[in-house]
């Protein structure tokens, strides 16, 4: 029997009295692309960070490729676990003290995946080319790049070590529509050509249609609706309908 690549069961997390996740159930099949939609502050990022172990859930179980995340013990296990992931952060989260190529090759320059410097640089330049950047940006600092270019560098860093699972945290936020389209297409292409399992958080519906195989809507700390992207438009769920149409009228309170 094949198990899902990522599995969340009744995951709960509260920050003080603020219950962000109230029992999230989610499955992502191997090689598929799931997009989580939901308003700002509904805990989409928290869910991703729970899977990565950046935040420890209060209750529930998370399994990655059948292995329980909570039972990882020791640095070695965690390193091996994290080596399977790549993540593109919302603000790209590039290390601003390092030139672009060292950001991209970060994982290849140290730790268990370390390679010779020249080789790491070559891989970094190749990955930069893959996301549409020329080799002359390699020696620049992240602060010298535009927002769209920083996102591309972040994407190159996420895929540099050929991860099996890639997370995208609001990949198009803060970009103009054309750059958003470019990033969406890149994400789709890369995920397909690498055969990676992808999980994306967004509230950009164009992004959803471009990237997703499956869609899950997070609202009120639970998954409201989940299904293939083709069925999203006739979900019959008033929350999903309101979110897709961007209407102020509906079950979701507009003032949060």
């Amino acid at each position: 029997m094949t198990h899902p690549m990522i599995e969340m069961k009744q995951v709960q997390k509260a920050f003080g009295s603020n219950e962000v996740l109230r029992g999230v159930d989610l499955e992502v099949a191997k090689g598929s692309s799931l997009v989580i939609i939901g308003g700002s502050g509904t805990g989409k990022s928290v869910a991703l960070k729970c899977i990565l172990g950046l935040i420890e859930p209060d209750a529930g179980e998370i399994r990655v490729d059948g292995q329980s995340v909570g039972r990882l013990s020791g640095q070695r296990d965690r390193d091996a676990f994290l080596a399977r992931f790549g993540m593109l952060f919302q603000g790209a989260a590039l290390f601003d003290s390092l030139p672009v190529w060292q950001n991209v090759a970060f994982r290849l320059l140290r730790g268990r995946l370390a390679r010779p410097r020249d080789e790491a640089r070559e891989i970094a330049i190749e990955k930069l080319r893959r996301v549409g950047l020329k080799s002359d940006v390699a020696d620049r600092l992240p602060a010298e790049l535009s927002g769209g270019m920083q996102k591309r560098v972040g994407l190159a860093r996420a895929i540099a070590a050929e991860p099996e699972i890639i997370f995208f945290d609001e990949p198009t936020t803060g970009l103009d529509p054309i750059m958003s389209g470019v990033i969406n297409d890149l994400i789709r292409e890369i995920v397909v050509e690498m055969g990676a399992t992808a999980m994306t958080i967004t509230h950009d519906m164009t992004s959803v249609r471009a990237i997703a195989d499956n869609v899950a809507m997070l609202h009120g700390g639970k998954i409201r609706w989940t299904g293939p992207v083709s069925q999203m438009d006739d979900s019959g769920d008033p929350y999903v309908e309101q979110f897709i149409s961007g209407s102020a009228e509906g079950p979701i309170e507009a003032v949060r």
């Binding site: 990565l52 994290l82 993540m87 952060f89 603000g91 989260a93 590039l94 290390f95 140290r110 730790g111």
Partner: protein, 260 residues
């Protein structure tokens, strides 16, 4: 406010402070344990040595030279009240090496290094760079904290030693140029008067103060709240805490070295 609520307030504040001290101690212990376990990040250490040690030299030198000069003037003026002007070299040496050298260098490091470490790490935290490090299988305690603490532990004693020497030279310059002291006699008095214990205590204080400065910068940076305000608070808190802890540690260390 009734006496009971006042007591409650005192109790809660004390407990809060002690809990914070406990968290900081655990943080420091973790930083030291990461220093001795691989993987090591020599490049990070080199950058930290440069930033904390080498680039602090100008401010340390200026602080020391002016303090030594002022000290010589004060001791001369004060000593003149009971015909003891001749003790200038001895008191400048003792004052600089035992107290002013380590304390002033420690405070300058708190101002220069603690603030910059806290602001840098807090900004990294706010912009998710710390999370990014973790997802790239790199432990922030090892990659960011351990090299900075180790660099401060190694370089601040050296800075204190240099500060001591420059401070004494500041006193020497003032004494020989304006107060008519004999240059050779001044230096001989200084060297004869200082004991090994004075120098060891000075360098040991430097090591402790350097560690405090770096640990507080890293701790407050890692605990930073969100946004620009979070970074500002972390920076302010780190410098305050480092300065107060350096002065408190100085009192304890002086007690340990000179009254036991």
């Amino acid at each position: 406010m009734t006496p009971i609520t006042a007591l409650g307030l005192i109790g809660r504040t004390s407990l809060g402070r002690l809990a914070a001290l406990g968290r900081i101690s655990r943080f420091a212990a973790s930083a030291f344990s990461h220093m001795i376990r691989p993987p090591y990040y020599p490049r990070e250490l080199a950058v930290a040595l440069l930033n904390i040690g080498w680039l602090s030299l100008p401010v340390v030198a200026l602080t020391a030279v002016f303090t030594g000069g002022a000290l010589a003037l004060q001791i001369y003026a004060g000593g003149a009240r009971f015909n003891a002007e001749a003790v200038v070299p001895q008191i400048v040496a003792i004052g600089m090496v035992r107290e002013l050298g380590p304390v002033l260098v420690g405070l300058m490091i708190a101002a220069r290094v603690t603030s910059s470490i806290a602001a840098e790490i807090a900004t990294m935290k706010v912009t998710e760079q710390i999370d990014a490090l973790v997802t790239l299988s790199t432990n922030p305690m090892k990659y960011l904290v351990a090299p900075r603490v180790l660099a401060a532990l190694l370089t601040v004693p050296v800075l204190v030693g240099i500060g001591d020497i420059i401070g004494i030279l500041g006193g020497y310059t003032v004494a020989t140029k304006t107060l008519d002291f004999n240059a050779a006699a001044y230096l001989k008095n200084t060297v004869d008067f200082l004991e090994l214990r004075d120098i060891i205590s000075s360098l040991a204080k430097g090591a402790v103060f350097g560690t405090i400065a770096a640990v507080m910068g890293c701790y407050y940076g890692m605990q930073s709240g969100r946004g620009a305000q979070g970074v500002g608070r972390a920076t302010k808190g780190s410098v305050e805490a480092a300065a107060v802890m350096i002065l408190a540690a100085n009192f304890v260390l002086t007690g340990v070295f000179f009254s036991l």
